[in-house]
Point group: C2
Chain length 321, copies 2
């Protein structure tokens, strides 16, 4: 059984050395190679490998699935960055900023298809894994669309927000675990519990992201607080603040959303605290985290095998930055 850090390292090296993009046309494949070599935490493929190893030794199918998952994730990053007009990814120029929008679209497309090219190599359970993979990929697209739709709406509920981050972020963690478990030969019940674990983990992680953007330790974050506030992003904190606010507070929040003033961030942070949105967010993180860990407890698998997964969840959920 492999520790979390070992699996990241092994995946990283095998993934990058095994990239099977053709050399030509380099105008199409260089952007793919560029993005994949920028790194990333490789959490999703490692979840897949860990889920396989919960049940059995890591096999070829788990590697294929993990590779497909990482390719799918990076395909969505390329296209999301175009849609969000993001100039930077992992501190470097995004694909479309470096290579142009048209190539960004097309490199993303071909990376998506290369994900399926990996799935075509599966020896066992191909129809089932393909179905889960498709369902997950469809939900990610839906999540991204709903997120974009939120920009034009002023009536987003907390429930809708949780649904959006579930689709946009959590289902890929969940699907990675479910697929990994299936490659290891897991029975339905364990695979489903792993799916629920991943879903709750993903929600807790995204809510934590919202919280840290506002209240994280700036020396650890490496950036100022309040990026989401400046971008008027509809986060859990903002939605909960609006829900909890008095009429006067609500008016102040609305004014701040329309302003670009110097004190926008500090005043909004004050309102998040005054409305107890900060406490509600921490509580929600704890609730989804507890739910996630309860799913691991429930797995009909010897405790010792669960350790790498618990370590990974702790790494993702208790980081201070």
């Amino acid at each position: 059984m492999h520790a979390f850090a070992d699996l990241v390292e092994t995946f990283e090296s095998r993934f990058l050395s095994g990239l099977s993009f053709p050399q030509q046309p380099s105008t199409l494949y260089d952007p793919c190679r560029y993005l994949l070599k920028l790194g990333g935490k490789r959490v999703r493929p490692v979840l897949c490998l860990m889920a396989c190893e919960l049940v059995d030794d890591i096999n070829e199918d788990a590697w294929h699935a993990a590779t497909a998952i990482e390719l799918l994730h990076n395909f969505t990053l390329i296209h999301d960055d175009i849609m969000d007009r993001a100039p930077l990814r992992r501190g470097q120029p995004t694909v479309h900023h470096k290579y142009g929008m048209a190539t960004g679209i097309l490199s993303g497309d071909v990376m998506c298809i290369f994900a399926y090219e990996r799935l075509a190599k599966l020896h066992k359970s191909m129809p089932l894994i393909l179905q889960i993979f498709n369902k997950t990929a469809i939900e990610i697209c839906e999540g991204q669309q709903i997120d974009m739709d939120f920009e034009h709406r002023n009536d987003v509920s907390i429930q809708e927000y949780i649904q959006m981050i579930t689709l946009k972020t959590s289902v890929l963690l969940a699907g990675s675990l479910q697929i990994g478990a299936i490659t290891g030969g897991a029975l339905g019940d364990n695979a489903n519990k792993l799916y629920q674990f991943g879903k709750n983990l993903g929600i807790a992680f995204q809510l934590q992201d919202d919280y840290l953007d506002a209240f994280g330790d700036t020396s650890l974050l490496g950036k100022q607080n309040g990026g989401d506030i400046i971008a008027n992003k509809k986060t859990y904190l903002l939605l909960r603040a609006l829900e909890n606010a008095s009429v006067a507070q609500k008016g102040r929040i609305t004014d701040l959303l329309a302003s670009d003033g110097e004190n926008k961030v500090s005043e909004m942070l004050g309102l998040f605290s005054d409305t107890k949105a900060d406490a509600a967010c921490k509580e929600a993180i704890a609730r989804y985290s507890d739910e996630a860990f309860a799913c691991i407890d429930d797995l009909a698998i010897p405790s010792v095998r669960k350790k790498p997964l618990i370590d990974l969840a702790n790494y993702l959920l208790v980081r201070k930055k």
Copy 2:
């Protein structure tokens, strides 16, 4: 056995009524439904069904594959239109013009995944069909990238051009036939010959498209000749004219490419004729057509079963507009 026109009609009705896009988020799926309802010749899925019927009755797998192929084709249309900044498709606003670029990207993505969702329903030969489908989809992306690269190059050879249109256009016709034949239970040799038929048919069809844009009967085309000339598109005619041109003619072509003058089209058409690029293009169309029909002749299948395929090829290749 079904005639070509019957298959188009049956596919059209079953395809549109069987579209399994969810209702929500409508901002994601309405654009998908919009494009698919704009119509199109449905040549690719019908080739798939015909290839199945060459061998056996049309079965469920052939329908799934045909649907997946039409979804793949339309996904590439959405993204190509964004890359080419095209305002119109089938006489109507393109998806990104109607719904915005971000939604265009995402609707294309989800349509691509829905293609794979159909493939996941295959009962037989899933790994093989998935492999052919992936290879085809990858080649289409490569063809689109090479086409975009051509815009910035002045040294494109005829051979490179044929390679580009093979990837961008022909392989999907070829792959549709190969996949259809496999759903019908065809043995390797017939499936491969059908692939070669589709490849040659596609090349002949694209060259004919180049020819008709320049020399087609405008009353049948419904548009003026020379759209490609105005857009400085590197077509077979232009590349062959440059290859055949005298120094003086080459200079004139280069001047015309840099000009937006009133006589650009008529002068370029004159140069295509003077350099015998027009005759060379017709000859190439005939050569690839002959090659295509020879592949059908070679099929170890009773002649009577081949008729719908021959009718379709004739429809595609001898149209006067």
